[in-house]
Symmetry: D3
Subunit: 186 residues, 6 copies
């Protein structure tokens, strides 16, 4: 990390509590929480945005949301996001292979045609959003995605456009715990 | 806009109040507020993030913050962001030419060498963040940017990576008011 | 400008007269005339080429010809051409917004489907001419463009491929007058 | 796989023996052997080339050779090569994290400056070989690479330029065994 | 050719005379003359521009001028220009190999360091003119190029940016005569 | 060449014999043989691979195999491969123009629609293999290519991905003999 990590005791109460909650739940504190902790206002906004998109119910499963993160983060060469969200994807999809497949080439991953269409669109948002046109919507709708779901796909790709750049800028390292999570059947 | 704009009266109170406040201050409601209004949680997170970076005091002037927005939004071909933030840049820089110059080619804009270095780095965050290395920091420091300022540069470029993608995805149109703002001396 | 501007009195008569004529008509001398004046043979050839394509009658309106200039010059990041021809486009289209829209992303500009097809082709000429194939012509013809009109589209894009490179090379600055032209209703 | 896998009994003896040997040693047959088995002459040439570069002694460790494979294969989005050689890299480097790091962004991997220089050059061979110049050699020599080692770096990147394209063309899938290899301490 | 070739007798006298002169001198009419003949105003402007840059005396030899054409036309995948000007380059350089070398990769052609610097700059004009900066000039001056010579380099690259696009657009074919010209010692 | 050429007498017998055979047949030793000679194991593997693909009978003519080499080697800016295999293509196609045409822009070469489809696919293997999908196969089959022929197309493009990189890395020069071969009718 290129920026110093503040001490927990020096943080605003709400930031500290969020970090302690994730520590309790996961057994460790993912570095993204520490990286943003020195900037409480951005910390709050980022995780509010994240939760609004990643924890919500809706037409996309949680595994599908993580797939979008892994595919677009790989396109942005974001080591932290691919390794950390790859772990979450393995767990949510209950599939120890899919994250590595999506990270290298989602076109050859063991995913459904619906998920392939979802990732094709997410990649267009991530890499070439100026060319998005009305013609991109019908194929998504034909796979059963509602307009709300399509917003979710785009918004997740857009949020991680931000997140990938901050992780690359701060040189955020994936915690060691992520590498093995979801790989070994319990 | 590809998504319906909700009626003001149907919005949560805090979202409605924010929109009414900007209407009062500017005389019109910039379309970005309406575009996000249908998604209150994302609305709150986005503008919280925005205010944390764009309204703050610090080593960067407000005009410089807007320069970063205009330069990186032009690189992402985001019509709404270039036109709207171009207007704000003209006003904050009290310069009717600089926004158009930065939008087309910031390397030839009438800006200081310090601002040129700032924009060079912001563009690397926007377009090639995986290659950011320790060697990018000393040139910025030599122009007097603190580590906090450098974070601001990167974070603004990262936030508009998100914002540009959402504007392109929703096909957000710039309000007519923006085109002329800051061009005619009062 | 990276090259010295010759004094009017030192120029060949025809070059001087052309400059005086434009000065009289516009109230100022656009910098492109001064930039080329030190090279009379190139000056004559460039403006002869320009007039043959931009001043002619034919299937394209003068506003449409300027649209091609603005869109392709923006793709080449040419500050002089985008600002100067943006002004002319606003005047010829009697529309104060369209130039800024086309400069950032012509796909989202308030133009007709015919103009969209025209700009799609002009951009292919500007950016990827080796892939032009016979299949590019029928869509243009279906919008009513004659073979002569299609040549005009291509030739304007090609001429400004030259012009953009010379403006970038000489670091030509847009005259201050251009920024506001065509923005305020008379 | 887009091409049928021949039955072992139908293969030439030397091809069958090579496959049986790897089966005995690894406990499974990596799919690359089956993919090439239908083309015995190419099978022999490919594995002869592979062994000449990957099994040889020399200035590069076996882990370093695998690093080159993983980094360049990731640049070519080759799922089979990243997953399979990622496994071998973890084993040879005795490091359960380095393969995932190198696959996403080798610039942020826990590798030595010498290995960073090695991968910078390998990536130039993989992605931009026409620009290789005499100036690329002294930095490599300053890290202790002999001219023979530099040839090895380039030749491994070149061999996997071939291999990645064949794996992408045939849609080779990584064997399930590779995903977990080298991740759990024995 | 995608456009009809007019009959010589239907052309304006000056255009016809230019074509007859080149026919007399070369023994055939290069197709570029026929391609432009249907547009006399553009024909005159194009060849006036061409002659101003390619036939002039100055710091660049005629062979060097042709080298710029071949290198930049190859970068634009322009078949007519590479084959036709490759022939002229072979003749003017009295070297039967240099045109093919420059067309594929000028960095490995048997040219002088001065010519290498000239082509590096010409390629920047052709492919990335928005990034030309003051720092590009001193290296050229250190090879003895005057400011006038540097303009010539840029202007030739810019003119063939136009020419390559017109040749690709019209699908201009190289005359058979060009392929062998300058290859066999007389 | 960046690496020393070993003396023939110091080479293993089989390598020396291969070189002597080609010298006898062609009247000179193409530099690729000398470049690889210092690495006998790679020499044997490379030429075994080469012969398996380039000398075989099958649905592709030998001229078509060379076309693939020339088109993909030009895309990789490989001077040796374009010049040397351009010569072989001229001879095998009995056409003195086609190699130069394919090297600059195969889309405008005097080749059949079947050969155009073959080169479109070869270029995808060379430049964008990660996007090869099942949808790429039917168009090739509709031109009469068998699955075996399609493998040949891909494998030749893949082998020269290797070869181009080694030639660029070693700075292999085309022998003078190649430039004129196949150009003058006997």
């Amino acid at each position: 990390m290129r920026y110093p990590i503040p001490e927990l005791k020096d943080l605003p109460a709400d930031v500290r509590e969020r970090i302690e909650a994730v520590q309790q739940k996961s057994g460790f504190v993912p570095n993204v929480f520490l990286a943003f902790a020195g900037r409480p206002a951005e910390f709050r906004a980022f995780f509010a945005y994240h939760d609004a998109l990643m924890e919500k119910e809706g037409g996309l499963t949680k595994a599908e949301r993580e797939m979008i993160v892994v595919a677009t983060s790989a396109a942005n060469d974001c080591q932290y996001c691919v390794v950390a969200h790859g772990a979450i994807l393995r767990i949510r999809a209950r599939n120890p292979r899919v994250a590595d497949q999506v990270a290298v080439n989602y076109r050859k991953a063991e995913i459904s045609p619906r998920q392939r269409a979802m990732l094709d669109f997410a990649m267009k948002v991530a890499l070439d959003s100026a060319r998005i046109g009305d013609e991109d919507f019908p194929p998504l709708r034909s796979h059963g995605f509602s307009d709300d779901d399509i917003w979710d796909i785009a918004a997740i790709a857009a949020l991680f456009a931000l997140s990938n750049r901050m992780a690359n800028f701060t040189s955020m390292k994936p915690n060691d715990e992520f590498y093995l999570m979801g790989r070994v059947p319990k």
